[in-house]
């Protein structure tokens, strides 16, 4: 049996998994620390995409555009936290969820006013246009770059959380916000910071994909569903779990496309439901 097709599917799965991870990381951070399920996460992702496109059109500089897109998405996250989320922290989960949903609706339509209804994309940077060819499939260097960035993010976040004072504070708020506040940690500042990081990560993900995925208004609504599945399977609030599950879901769904093209997405839902039935807190979650 020729295993090359499986290898290429695994490779593609790793790339897709890395994308899910960049989105899931923001979701996990925001849920873990701020305890808000953020439906508007896709909004930050698309904002990153559009900003990347806009800056690239004006400057033609890939790195500069990527930085700006990430920062602007982060700034939008802060604005969102200050203007809306702060007012619903004390409410039931359902109201927080609906508030983020409302924001997503508003932004989707507002983006159409700015960038029009059509789709946009930018070219892959010159140096990364080629790739390795295995069994007729070109595995593009740019996809490899996305995997590397995903892995780097994982290492950075883990190091940051475990080895810095700020990381310690965030973990403290994650565990027990009331006690942390009592010990002099400004939860408000931490919340805002986490929203900045989460939104910036989503923006980074969006910006990184414009050369591969054409962006249109409301595009990431579909991508975000998979990121949610990842977070749910992993357990809301586990960073390492989110990374492992992102990659697994990416690889698994990619292989399913090859072996059961009829059922790929249904199987993913079923696995998610099955895991939840057995272990509702998720595979890596704590009760």
């Amino acid at each position: 049996m020729d295993l090359t097709p499986f290898l290429t599917q695994i490779f593609i799965g790793l790339y897709k998994g890395s994308l899910y991870w960049i989105l899931a990381l923001g979701l996990v951070l925001i849920f873990g620390v701020v305890r808000v399920i953020n439906f508007a996460h896709a909004t930050f992702y698309v904002t990153g995409s559009y900003m990347m496109y806009t800056f690239y059109m004006y400057t033609g500089n890939f790195i500069l555009s990527l930085t700006m897109a990430t920062l602007i998405a982060g700034a939008l996250g802060v604005a969102f936290e200050v203007a809306v989320i702060r007012r619903v922290y004390k409410l039931e989960t359902i109201y927080q969820l609906l508030a983020t949903f409302a924001i997503a609706l508003i932004f989707n339509e507002a983006q159409k006013l700015v960038w029009g209804k059509g789709v946009v994309y930018i070219p892959i940077p010159e140096a990364l246009r080629e790739g390795v060819s295995i069994g007729g499939v070109t595995l593009n260097y740019y996809m490899i770059l996305i995997m590397v960035i995903g892995l780097l993010l994982f290492i950075i976040v883990i190091l940051f959380m475990n080895n810095t004072i700020m990381g310690l504070r965030i973990r403290a708020v994650w565990r027990d916000p009331v006690m942390s506040e009592a010990l002099g940690v400004s939860t408000r500042l931490i919340y805002t910071l986490v929203f900045f990081v989460g939104a910036a990560l989503a923006g980074l993900g969006g910006a990184l994909t414009v050369p591969l995925i054409s962006v249109g208004p409301g595009l990431a609504d579909y991508l975000i569903v998979t990121a949610f599945i990842v977070v749910v399977i992993a357990g809301l609030g586990s960073i390492t779990g989110a990374y492992i599950i992102s990659v697994l879901v990416g690889v698994l769904s990619s292989i399913l496309v090859l072996i059961t093209p009829e059922l790929d997405i249904v199987i993913l839902y079923m696995i998610a439901a099955f895991i939840l039935l057995l272990r509702p807190q998720g595979l890596f979650g704590e009760r």
């Binding site: 208004p217 496309v257 093209p261």
Partner: protein
């Protein structure tokens, strides 16, 4: 396929005659001038009452996708409708009545919108509709609306074959070619290509499924030696096709068929290029590849396969090379600054179909208008349309063409291949 032979020949005959008559009429003179002559005659003959419509304004409700990711398509419908209405009104309207348009978003509960258009806005006709599911929904309640519905984009064959032909919902018409274009005609193009092994990637919803079914069935009948080695079914709204593409590339297929459209097609084509699809596939058939949103988005990046990237749509601005079409394209470009998308033409022509029927019948009575529309032959930018009486489907041909780059903003077409519409459309009794 067990076609009733006599019925088929009869229809075929009627169609050919209809198309021929229409062609002669259409090519000899612009239809607008013909009608103005008719009008002058009726006025000057003494004792004959002037032909007028019972209302000073003919109201047309236009449905399209106006929100969300596919809202460009609602815009195309709007552009076509507006251009037609502006032209007609500038020339004195329909038998003196002005045309007024009311636009609604079909994503905001299409049945509610249709009912509101008829019952509140007082629309006399409903045209448009992008999604097949929505067309079936409005088609299902058309008798309650009591107004003529002309679908100008939704491509499900079930609208005309089941609702009109089998269930007798005679108020439904369609000005655009349905899935026959994507499934059947594509097979006629594929049979002449020197490739044997085909791959398919189509949306996991009715349109994609039926396109692939018709394509494989027809091609197998035309070329028994072909094989279909792999088929992939990304769901509606797929933003990233990479796993599907690598699964396609893992097969030994030599050519690719796809009915993916709009924003998804832009991504699919780019990712195919990036992942080496155009090194592997010697030919690519993209049934909606010359939709103008895709052509503009991809522009000079539009990939070309060794044996051609064969594309089509439900109307393509370079075809037919008639004066009527050229003038339409020029007027459209002057009005909207872009080349006409296919659903702009099909909507534009739908309004002219209604105009022709209204001028013939001089009434708003749907039953009389249905009779007038059945068998109507009319010259439109896309060529002569004949409205088949049995299923109310407008019959006209749209070719496939090969993408070429000639330094223009949008890619152009070469080797246009047309097959007579009567050959590739399905025919009553649709078994």
């Amino acid at each position: 396929m067990s076609v009733d032979r006599r019925g088929f020949i009869k229809t075929l005959g009627a169609g050919v005659v209809g198309l021929a008559v229409g062609a002669v009429l259409g090519w000899a003179a612009k239809p607008l001038e013909v009608r103005e002559v008719t009008k002058t005659e009726t006025v000057t003959v003494p004792g004959v009452v002037e032909r007028k419509l019972p209302k000073a304004t003919v109201k047309i409700g236009v449905l399209g996708i106006r929100s969300g990711l596919w809202s460009t398509y609602g815009e195309f419908i709007e552009q076509g409708a507006r251009l037609a209405a502006e032209e007609i009104n500038a020339k004195g309207g329909i038998l003196g009545s002005r045309v007024e348009l009311v636009f609604r978003d079909e994503l905001a509960d299409v049945v509610k919108q249709a009912k509101e258009l008829v019952d509140v806005e007082g629309a006399d006709f409903i045209i448009g509709i992008d999604s097949s599911g929505n067309a079936m929904k409005v088609g299902g309640i058309v008798s309650e609306l009591g107004k003529i519905l002309v679908v100008t984009h939704a491509a499900t064959h079930r609208l005309t074959e089941e609702l009109v032909y089998k269930e007798g919902k005679k108020l439904i018409f369609r000005s655009s070619v349905p899935v026959y274009q994507d499934g059947t005609l594509a097979a006629y193009i594929a049979k002449d290509l020197p490739v044997r092994k085909w791959a398919g990637i189509n949306g996991d919803y009715e349109f994609g499924r039926v396109s692939w079914e018709l394509f494989t069935k027809t091609l197998k009948a035309l070329r028994p030696d072909v094989e279909f080695v792999v088929d992939q079914w990304p769901k509606f709204g797929t933003e990233d096709f990479t796993p599907f593409i690598s699964a396609l590339l893992a097969s030994d297929a030599e050519a690719l068929f796809t009915s993916i459209w709009a924003i998804e097609l832009v991504t699919l084509q780019r990712q195919l290029t990036i992942m080496g699809g155009y090194k592997k596939f010697r030919a690519v058939i993209s049934t909606l590849g010359y939709s103008m949103d895709v052509a503009y988005s991809l522009g000079t990046d539009y990939p070309t396969a060794e044996l051609g990237t064969w594309v089509s749509a439900r109307y393509m601005w370079p075809y037919p090379p008639t004066k009527a079409n050229k003038d339409f394209v020029d007027r459209f470009k002057a009005r909207w600054g872009r080349l006409p998308a296919y659903s702009a033409e099909t909507t534009y022509s739908a309004i002219y179909m209604l105009k022709a029927a209204l001028e013939n019948a001089a009434t708003l009575d749907p039953d009389i208008l249905i009779k007038t529309l059945e068998g109507l032959v009319i010259m439109t930018p896309a060529g002569v349309r004949w409205i088949r009486p049995e299923d109310h489907q407008a019959i006209y041909e749209v070719p496939y063409g090969r993408i070429v780059h000639k330094g223009a903003e949008v890619p152009l077409l070469e080797d246009l291949k047309a097959v007579p519409a009567m050959l590739y459309y399905r025919h009553p009794p649709f078994t």
